[in-house]
Symmetry: C2
């Protein structure tokens, strides 16, 4: 296959606290060659994590070459979504509690090893970009993206562009106050959305709701070991009709609904796309969530907006890292 006939490829890397996901895509997004996931194991230190990322990138390139007949020269770069805050211009991860890194020059560490240009972006921005480019938020002009898992991250597409600010705090939707005198959040503040609606917070509220009693099936699902209760188990129990779990999910919907209504009244977006573990709850969560938003936001803002689960589960971060590489390199998604 002559070189000029092959499409160009970009590698996307989604670096999370738990897993690293890497995949190759054509630069135009038309062809996705699949992803590979490995545990991050940040306890082994930054160098070992970089080593793992580099190996996964090389593997993705080798596999993509075998599958498509592309040459190494057709791989034009690597986009990396990493937990923030970041200094994008210098390619540095400033601080990230999940990985325990401080001022780590991730971009250059990868770039030197793979001999390709590398671009960094915030993981929540990448997930939003991914859903906007190829997923559930496609076609939106003003998009709020939320990723709800261990924490609650956010990304904003405003007037058709990813909203970026130099100090890289924008989109910290999880740390907006919905209850000034409310629960203490691990950020130190009181009443943050994340203190109610992140995965661990949902599990904690479920433990509280059970009042030490054993009549919920959640108790059986964790064999009586309450510390094993996770948000996923709460959703599972709710789908099975467990009353306590259902009430916890409905309450979660009310908290999330208040936070999302705030975003509707501030931005008037056309799409709110929600990704992460919370989407496993399905309509048990989305139905009361949309109802709460309708109660709290202006009717015109509600009418203008669809609130949808992401359509690229497990993949939005990689797709978005590729989109971010494209944007930072060529100014387009």
């Amino acid at each position: 296959m002559p070189k000029s006939k092959s499409p160009r490829y970009v590698i996307g890397v989604d670096l999370g606290g738990t897993n690293i996901v890497v995949g190759a895509m054509t630069e135009d997004g038309a062809s996705d060659l699949g992803t590979r996931s490995e545990p991050t194991r940040s306890d082994q230190g930054a160098d070992a994590v970089v080593e793992r990322i580099v190996r996964m990138i090389e593997l993705a390139i080798t596999e993509a070459m075998a599958a498509t007949g592309a040459k190494r020269a057709h791989f034009v770069g690597v986009g990396v979504g990493a937990p923030g805050p970041l200094d994008r211009a210098r390619g540095v991860v400033l601080t990230t509690p999940n990985l325990g890194w401080q001022n780590f020059p991730l971009r250059d560490a990868i770039s030197e090893r793979v001999q390709l240009p590398v671009k960094l972006d915030n993981d929540a921005n990448c997930a939003t970009l991914g859903e906007w480019w190829l997923g559930a938020a496609k076609g939106g002009r003003n998009v709020v993206g939320m990723t709800i898992g261990t924490g609650i991250g956010g990304g904003l597409i405003l007037d058709g562009r990813l909203y970026h600010v130099s100090s890289d705090i924008a989109g910290e939707i999880g740390h907006t106050t919905i209850d000034v005198t409310g629960r203490r959040c691990k950020c130190g503040n009181y009443g943050c959305l994340e203190a109610y609606a992140s995965g661990p917070s949902i599990a904690e509220r479920a433990r509280e709701a059970m009042h030490g009693e054993h009549d919920s099936i959640m108790y059986t699902l964790v064999d009586g070991e309450m510390e094993r209760l996770t948000a996923a188990i709460v959703y599972d129990a709710a789908k099975k009709g467990d009353g306590t779990a259902l009430e916890v999910v409905r309450e979660t919907a009310r908290f999330l609904g208040a936070g999302i209504a705030n975003l509707l009244n501030i931005f008037n977006p056309d799409v709110v796309v929600i990704a992460g573990g919370v989407t496993q709850a399905g309509e048990t969560l989305f139905d009361p969530l949309r109802r709460e938003v309708r109660k709290r936001a202006f009717a015109a803002a509600v009418a203008a907006c669809r609130i949808v689960p992401g359509s690229l589960p497990g993949n939005a971060g990689v797709v978005g890292a590729v989109a971010s590489f494209n944007q930072q390199t060529r100014g387009v998604a």
Copy 2:
């Protein structure tokens, strides 16, 4: 004076529920010829209000011509800031409880009478634009503007452009929830920022804080007629050292601080500019407000942002209406 030597002038109109303020400015903002204010008297009906606006515009033109030697032909248009939501493209005020209007074609009603092009914009957007163009938010790239008076309005400058959405709800900062189980707001929702920190809400909280007792000087300031208590009187009493009034102002600062911290975590702005009656409270309010924001927002977002009172009191709306006319006509402020 030959026609080509005169600068071009734009008339700005700030239409409020209580007053109409009208002024003439050079198109480039370099020269402001002062403003005139008259009561709106919306009870007389929309036609009478339009009549008043038209007369005030004609007067502003006549006075400006007398003061500068400009000819009528040097007046190129009129910018109008009106309570929203609006349909800017059609120049229609969709609904405004303060004036009692529904689907009123304000732009054409004025334009037909003064024979000049007229552009409408939301009053909160205009106030923000005014402070950004010539006031305290000058030079900001991402600016949150808040006007706190009878209600709480907001306008957003993002990436150096006024953020506008077709359904015109954006910037409704007053109706973001800061306490999910909190006070009922007149919008029907619970726990809106406006239910705590608008002028009437501040007065109401002060009445509650006095518990029917008479030891606060606020009681004396209204001659015992508690229904006469206003936010301005609360600020006045606080400045005089009244303990109850001080606590009400500090509490207001905490509520506003929570709402503003949310905006810092969402937008990471470089300026938050606060206009309206609340600025009369001065440092009694701004000092604890900044402290609360520091407690609640991410350090990097706090470091990147200055929180300032507007520097164009009573005039930001007119200046911003002129800026909005410029933007809508020529694409620049």
